[in-house]
Symmetry: C2
């Protein structure tokens, strides 16, 4: 199968990076095709404005959705950086995002990747949401690390249920455009892992990925 | 009172911009002090990495939380861009964010502002979350525009309840650091407003702001 792995972490020695490298290695060893987007390494610009387009529909008033639909009609007239990412998303059967939870959401560099890539006219079309989304049939998985411990991300913990924290991404971005969402891979308090702990967690991740295409989508809930 | 207004929109002719200008004008006319952060206008860089700091705790392994706590100990050794924003947040009694909902969340330029500004050691301290948050006593308000119509952001609509969509920001960022959250100002399908509609909505916003300091916090819910 075809897998796209998107990484949003600035430190090559980080646990996120190790999870990313483990996923690449395991999936390739198991005969899959893997493409990657290492957002910090490619210095991805997450700020969405006119620079995302090579065409202009209305030079006097920037309405992004109008420009997006125009870009789709003009043979996807986005800048190369954006086109490459859109094509990877369309190419894959499974998309994995590897990121640390910052302020209960993906880092800005990853949020901006979705702002610029998941555009109207190409990914979002009239009526094409959720079960009718243009990317239906594809699967997606969030692999997340946290600073706070697991007990804080429970219904009675002070941050609340981790599924609720991740819902805006699972529901609002991934399901909205048609992805089937797999169980998130959540690792808590990774800054406090020992070397031995890290090996155990990476092994568990690798084992999971060997059978990832047998997994079914989860119910991410509605708001 | 002291109000900080943060704007995240690239187009000066946009409805978001008009809401922003209306808020500045109304609040000043009513005797308040107003500071602003127009993120696109100041070309704010939302990518969080080592460039946020002027000191280095560990040059070999970037752990952001460690660097943040070190920066706090070293007389807040952040770059000027960050310090200025931190001081504005600490200065204000009320913080208003004006932004379009992109992929069910703030634009990356605003997400990155929180990534870089709301740091451990300064805003987040051990045990200082929610009702014990360091910014308790301050109020915050999201003023949001959407592309989809109001009926899609209801419990039975296909996007689900707007309060649920906004919860990660209201709960995970604002309440988490101590803000009391006011009722969000939500304007739907703003691309389809007529000039007359715009005037009516701006007038309603202005009228609300005249009595904004009489409003009480809402219950944003938990996950």
């Amino acid at each position: 199968m075809k897998i796209l792995i998107v990484l949003a972490h600035p430190e090559p020695k980080s646990f996120n990076y190790a999870m990313y490298l483990t996923a690449i290695k395991t999936l390739k060893e198991n005969g899959h095709e893997v493409k990657t987007t290492n957002l910090y390494a490619i210095n991805f610009n997450p700020v969405y404005d006119r620079s995302n387009f090579t065409t202009v529909k209305n030079p006097d008033f920037l309405k992004l959705q109008i420009e997006e639909i125009h870009a789709a009609e003009m043979n996807n007239s986005y800048v190369a950086e954006t086109k490459i990412e859109q094509e990877k998303v369309e190419w894959c059967d499974l998309m994995i995002w590897q990121f640390p939870l910052w302020r209960f959401a993906p880092p800005a560099i990853l949020k901006g990747w979705t702002d610029r890539i998941f555009t109207s006219g190409r990914f979002f079309k009239d009526g094409g949401y959720y079960e009718n989304g243009t990317l239906r049939g594809k699967k997606a998985l969030l692999s997340v690390t946290t600073g706070s411990p697991a007990k804080t991300y429970t219904k009675d913990g002070y941050h609340g249920d981790i599924y609720g924290v991740l819902r805006p991404v699972n529901r609002g971005i991934l399901e909205c455009v048609g992805f089937s969402v797999l169980e998130p891979e959540v690792n808590y308090s990774v800054a406090h892992l020992t070397d031995e702990d890290r090996k155990t967690v990476l092994k568990k991740w690798s084992n999971r990925l060997k059978n990832i295409f047998n997994e079914n989508k989860i119910n991410v809930g509605k708001y």
